[in-house]
């Protein structure tokens, strides 16, 4: 299958079960909301080495936030709810409580504990920073009463929601751009990321949404459980078996985490269509032979118009 002159490889992206939560972070203006977003989502590219995979879902207008200030919607992914319950209070405590004027609200307020969802404490833990001077405020909302903690800080109050909902989600949707050279392939990757930047329910957690160090499972070194995906390294094409086409000089991977299969499939389709161009020789996808993840996003199916793989 080709789109224009770009080969769409008969491959599938192999994604796996994760858990996700959404935080709504507001601040006095858009600048500080973006500062808060950058801080809170830093060091959040891959759970291989980070406590969570994190990213900016979209920016929010004052009308869309609980306190009427500019804000951002952030998504965080981890392998289970317990890992989120550990990572999020740490990130909020260190990156958002410290950020001038920032407040933190649950972005999944209607979520209750079930097989597919859970809740964990956030403000209920962080409130103790108030050293006994913290207060709570319960406000009714369309999803029921919501309780906020008001922690006194040096610029006023840090407001943080008592608990946060989390749901089953999917991590590791991806596609590989196999291009002629670094510059044109990177431009194509950027086009793809920008095309899906404002898509709801997904994030691209890697730097600028792009990964250059795609990994495979395992390593010749016992201490590592992931190592470079040598099948796609252009400099190794004469040394090891390769999956690269002739003339491919650079590969970038776009990794997409999402709350639903449809959100990931749609983002993969939009990203690929925005990325392909004359210097993109092929589009492929990363997988582990289907043994690791239960979600398989087949490129040709996605681009043929079906929402799910």
């Amino acid at each position: 299958m080709h789109i224009h002159n770009t080969l769409i490889d008969d491959q599938f992206a192999e994604a796996f079960r994760m858990w996700a939560c959404r935080l709504i972070v507001t601040a006095i203006d858009e600048h500080w909301a973006q500062v808060a977003a950058r801080e809170a989502t830093g060091y959040g590219s891959s759970v291989i080495g980070c406590d969570a995979e994190a990213g900016l879902e979209r920016t929010l207008t004052p009308d869309e936030t609980p306190d009427g200030r500019p804000g951002v919607s952030l998504l965080f992914f981890a392998f289970n709810a317990k890992a989120l319950a550990k990572a999020i209070p740490n990130r909020v405590g260190q990156c958002l409580m410290t950020c001038p004027t920032a407040s933190v609200y649950d972005g999944l307020p209607g979520v209750v504990k079930s097989d597919d969802s859970d809740r964990f404490d956030l403000g209920k833990k962080i409130r103790y920073f108030g050293d006994g001077y913290q207060k709570s405020k319960r406000v009714e909302s369309p999803t029921g009463p919501r309780r906020y903690w008001r922690v006194p800080v040096m610029d006023g109050e840090f407001v943080v929601e008592e608990s946060v909902g989390c749901v089953k989600a999917i991590g590791g949707g991806n596609y590989l751009l196999c291009g002629r050279d670094q510059k044109t392939t990177l431009d194509a990757a950027r086009r793809g990321v920008e095309a899906i930047a404002h898509t709801p329910n997904i994030i691209t957690p890697f730097p600028g949404g792009v990964v250059r160090s795609g990994s495979k499972v395992g390593s010749r070194y016992k201490a590592l459980f992931a190592s470079t995906n040598h099948f796609y390294c252009p400099t190794l094409r004469r040394v090891v078996p390769t999956l690269l086409q002739q003339d491919v000089g650079c590969v970038y991977e776009i990794v997409i985490n999402g709350l639903t299969e449809n959100a990931i499939a749609g983002a993969m389709r939009d990203g690929i269509l925005a990325s392909i161009g004359p210097d993109i020789i092929a589009v492929s996808a990363g997988n582990y032979g289907g043994k690791l993840g239960k979600f398989h996003f087949k490129l040709r199916t996605i681009l043929g118009g079906d929402a799910t793989a």
Partner: protein
């Protein structure tokens, strides 16, 4: 409409002693026949609700009451649902209320959201919205919830309050937050002269107190006349002779 409309028709004498029977969490779940037979104490006798009101509508979650005299104790200890009173309410509106919403399109008398005679605490949840004025001691001993008063408010709103929020759209007669331990009183009109029980904690930008902005948005959602153009918040804390964790906030424009 989702729920029942009760229109007062009674020439029955005497009238019911109180309006505690007006609980949407109980009445709106009944079928019309049951509702009509629902017992209401009137003097020494008990009559069916249908003898006091014309009843229209069907089961739902809203109870709409029209043209009723201002009975005391309306919505006493209600836990859920919506009660809309077209007209005035008497004393002890929403006494020891636990949840739901009471909207009064008119005025209310004293001790809105206060304790019912058998309870130590005032309202512990839910929301009361009064489009007109309220009497003295609104929110007495309230423990949680929101009271929004569109007009003026009598003496000592938030008397002995332990938590929760009172929003007053216009004038407060005197002594807001007297003996309050915790909780918030938001004054959108000018505060009266404050006494030593409150301490001036200074002026703040609304962005410094986002929880207050949220509360104002919620109040404006319930009562569309709440202004959202607040530029500064003047914070007073107290009651200094109690726990001193309460706050009385003057909104400035």
């Amino acid at each position: 409409m989702n729920g029942y409309t009760l229109t007062w028709k009674s020439t029955h004498s005497p009238s019911p002693g109180d309006g505690a029977f007006l609980r949407p969490d109980i009445l709106t779940g009944l079928v019309p026949n049951q509702l009509s037979q629902y017992p209401v104490r009137v003097g020494r006798h008990t009559v069916g609700l249908g003898q006091l009101f014309d009843i229209t509508g069907k089961p739902g979650d809203t109870l709409h009451v029209k043209a009723m005299p201002p009975l005391p104790m309306i919505g006493r200890e209600m836990a859920s649902g919506t009660l809309v009173i077209e007209g005035n309410a008497g004393d002890d509106l929403g006494a020891s209320m636990k949840g739901g919403l009471i909207a009064v399109i008119g005025h209310a008398r004293h001790r809105v959201g206060g304790p019912s005679p058998t309870q130590n605490r005032g309202m512990t949840g839910g929301e009361i919205v009064i489009h007109g004025n309220a009497g003295d001691h609104a929110g007495t001993r309230m423990r949680r919830g929101l009271i929004v008063i569109g007009g003026d408010c009598g003496h000592a709103p938030g008397y002995q309050m332990g938590a929760g929020t009172i929003v007053v759209g216009q004038q407060i007669a005197s002594d807001p937050g007297l003996s309050m331990r915790r909780g918030t009183i938001l004054a959108l009109g000018k505060l009266p002269e404050l006494h030593a029980h409150l301490a001036d904690a200074g002026l703040f930008d609304p962005s410094a107190l986002p929880a207050i902005s949220m509360t104002l948005r919620r109040a404006n959602h319930l009562l569309q006349t709440i202004p959202d153009s607040v530029t500064k918040l003047q914070l007073f804390t107290g009651d200094r002779f109690e726990l001193s964790r309460g706050e009385v906030i003057q909104c400035l424009y």
